[in-house]
Amino acid sequence: MGLGSLVSRAIRPASRLLRPHNTTFLLRTIVSKPELQSPEAAAVSQPQPQPNLPPRTPVGGARVHFSNPDEAIEVFVDGFPVKIPKGFTVLQACEVAGVDIPRFCYHSRLSIAGNCRMCLVEVEKSPKPVASCAMPALPGMKIKTDTPIAKKAREGVMEFLLMNHPLDCPICDQGGECDLQDQSMAFGSDRGRFTDMKRSVVDKNLGPLVKIVMTRCIQCTRCVRFASEVAGVQDLGMLGRGSGEEIGTYVEKLMTSELSGNVIDICPVGALTSKPFAFKARNWELKGTETIDVTDAVGSNIRVDSRGPEVMRIIPRLNEDINEEWISDKTRFSYDGLKRQRLSDPMIRDADGRFKAVSWRDALAVVGDIVHQVKPEEIVGIAGQLSDAESMMVLKDFVNRMGSDNVWCEGTALGIDADLRYRYLMNTSIAGLENADLFLLIGTQPRVEAAMVNARIRKTVRASNAKVAYIGPPSDFNYDCKHLGTGPDTLKEIAQGSHPFCSALKNAKNPAIIVGAGLFDRTDKDAILSAVESIAQANNVIRPDWNGLNFLLLYAAQAASLDLGLIQRSPKALESAKFVYLMGSDDVDVDKIPKDAFVVYQGHHGDKAVYRANLILPATAFTEKEGTYENTEGLTQQTVPAVPTVGDARDDWKIVRALSEVSGVKLPYNSIEGVRSRIKTVAPNLVHTDEREPVAFGPSLKPESKETIETTPFKPVVENFYMTNSITRASKIMAQCSAVLLKK
C-alpha cells in the first residue's frame, strides 16, 4: 500500500460464499490518473480531438435545392453541421444529413399532419421531444436523433400503434413491404403490455380497385390528404374521435377518381391494398422490372412486378419530371389484360372463314407472295397506338421499299404536318407546367386523356393559384375551371380579341395553352391550329424562355411516329388498298377497308381488327419487348422486357424484318442496334433515351392556312377512360371499373 503516486488496490470478492462456482478469480486493479481527479487537469492534459465525422450524403441520394442561397441556415444533426434552406423542417434537415427518421403520417408530397408522433427527435433546450415533420428548423438548432429519449419515444409510439392493430400479418397483403413491420423491427420494443380487447372497425367499400380492411388503419390520414390534395376528390375523411376514429366516405360512395389506386402505395399499413392483387403474391417472390407505361402518351415510369411468366402487379417509379410518384388507375390495373385474348400462333383464315394455326414459314411465305401481287400504291401499313419506334421504323422502311408511301400511325389524320415538332408536342414539358399561371385547355379533357398531366395542372392550381379556362364539351375537372365555350366559335373570338378572357390571357406571365390531339381528326384542323397559333403569338405565349403552346397527344406511339415521318398523305389510301398491314392498330375504321383487300394483323391481342384480318401474326406486348417510346413532351424512354413472350410470338420489328426478307426486299439491318442506327439517321432524338429534345423552330415557319373554321363543337375524344387500347379492353378489372366507376 502507498507505492508511489499511483495507488493501486486489488479487489477480491467480499466473501467466499458469494463467489460463484466456476468463475475464475479475476483481479481488477483500480488505477487513477491526474485527468480524472479534477476538471482543470483534464482540460490541460489534452485538447478534445475534433470528431472525425465522415461526410454525410442526403437520404436516397437526394439533391437539396436552395431557392435562395443567401438564406441558408445551419443546424447540427447528431453533431454533424448541415446547411439547409430556410423553410425546412427538422425532418427534412435530418434527411439532408443522411439520417432517415421513421414516420407514418408524413409524406413529402402531402401536407403535414403530425399525428403519428413517430418522428419524435430530441432537440437541445426543448422540454419534450419534437415532432420533426412539423417543427421548422431554426438556425443553430442541435438535433439529436439517437438519444435514449428519442429511442424511448419511438418505442412508446410503436407500442401504442400496435395496441389496436390486428394480428393480420399472415393474411395481410402488405406483409413484407409494410412500414409498420419494418419500423417495429427497427425501432420498436420487443414486447407489448396490452392485454385488453383490441378494437375493430367495419370495412368500407371503395370500389373494385381498392380493398379496405379498416381495422388495420393507424389513422395516419395520408389517404385523406392525398384524396383531397392530389386527386382533388373530397371523398375520404376522418370520422369520430379518439380510439373510435374511422376513415371513411361517410356516405356509401365509391372512389371514382382516376388516381384512386395511389392510396394503395401511400398507406403505410395494410388497410388500403390492391383488390385485384389481394392474396395473389408476396412481395419477395416478385421480380421487379423498371419499365415504361404505354396506356397513354405520358410515359409514366413503372415497375412491373412479375412472378415467372405472369405480371402480378404494376407499381409506380419515381420520376420527378413526368409522373412524380403517382400513376393512373388504367396504368396500374390493366395488367390482367395481358393474360387474356393473347395471340400466340400465326393464323391464316381458311376458305370457310375460320382461322387455322400455321407455322411462321408458311405465314410469311403467304404474305410474301401476296405483297408482290398488288400494285405498290395499293399497299397500306398502319401502326398502332402501342407500337414502339423500332417497329414503326422497320414498317416504314418495308412499305417504302415495296414502293408505297401509305404508312401512318393511328391517330394521325390526313394532312398532319410532321415537319415542325412544336406543332405536335408538349413544348412546356410536363414538369414545366408547374411554372404556368394560366391554362387554356382547348378540346382536351386531361383527366381522361393523360391523368398525370391533369395531376400536374392540379398541383400548379393548388400551389400558385393558377387559373384554368376550358373550351370543349362539358366535363368535370378536379380543380376550378372556367368553361368558356364548347366549340371553335369561342376560339375564334379569343383569336380576334373580342372575348373577355383575352384580358386575362394578356396579363398572365406564363400562359400555357394545351390543345388536345383529338382536334387533329377534324377536317378544319388547319384553321383551328392556325387560330391557336395566332392566339399564342398575340399573347406572347412563345418566348425564348417560355414556350406555352402544348399539344396533348393521346397514344404512346404518336410522338415517335410523327418524329419518324409516318404520316398519311393520300386521302383515299385506305379505300383503294388491296393489301393492308395493321401493326397493332385496332382503332382503324374496318369498314373503310375494301372487301377484297388482304389484311394482315400483327399484334398481341385479338381485338377489333382481328375480325377483318385474313392473316394473323402474333407479336409481343410492351411488357415483353424492349422498345423505344416517346411521350407527349418529347422525352424518349425505353421499355424493358419483364416477362417472356407468349406462345410463338415475336417482336414487332423482327416480324417485319423477316417479312421483308421473305418478300425479297431484305432490309439492311438484322439486330436491334442496326434498327436503332437506322432510327438515328431519321430522328436521332429517339436514340437518346431519357433525354428530352426541345423543339428547334417556333411559329415563324408556320404555313398559312386558308380554310375556314367550322362550327361543329368539340367532341370528347375518350368515351370510356378505362378502355382505350387493346390491352385495357381485354382486362377484366377495367371492365369492372367501367361498369361501376364511370360517371354516367
Binding site: 414459314r361 426478307e661 438484322n670
Partner: protein, 133 residues
Amino acid sequence: MSAPFTLRKIGVPPNSANLTEARRRVFDFFRAACRSLPTVMDIYNLQDVVAPSQLRFAISAQIRNNAHITDPKVIDLLLFKGMEELTDIVDHAKQRHHIIGQYVVGEGLVQNTGSKDQGKSDFLKNFYTSNYF
C-alpha cells in the same frame, strides 16, 4: 426379328493398360450399342421416325467426336459414361423425346435438307426458331 441381345453389365470400370486396349474397348462398346439398337427401336417405337442406320450413324459420330483423344484413362472414362447412357436407354429409363432429341440427328435435320433453307440468312433461321436471339 433376331434374338434380342442382352446387355452384359460391365460392373468394374475397366482400366486399359494402353491405347490398343482402349481402342478394343471402344469397338466393343460400339458393337454392343449397335446390337441393342433393335431393342431400343422397339421400346421407344421409333420405327417410323428413324432408321437403325441413322442411329448407328449418330452413335459413331459421337464416338468420332472424341477420336483425337490419346490418354487411355480419359477414353475409359468416356466409355464408362457411354455405357451408362446406353444402359439407361436400354432400361427404358429415358423417354422417347430424349432419344429423338439427342440422337435423331439435330433439330433442323428434317428441314435442313430442304432446299429453301440454303438462301436464308441467319436472322431468318433464328427468327423461325425463337424470339430470343
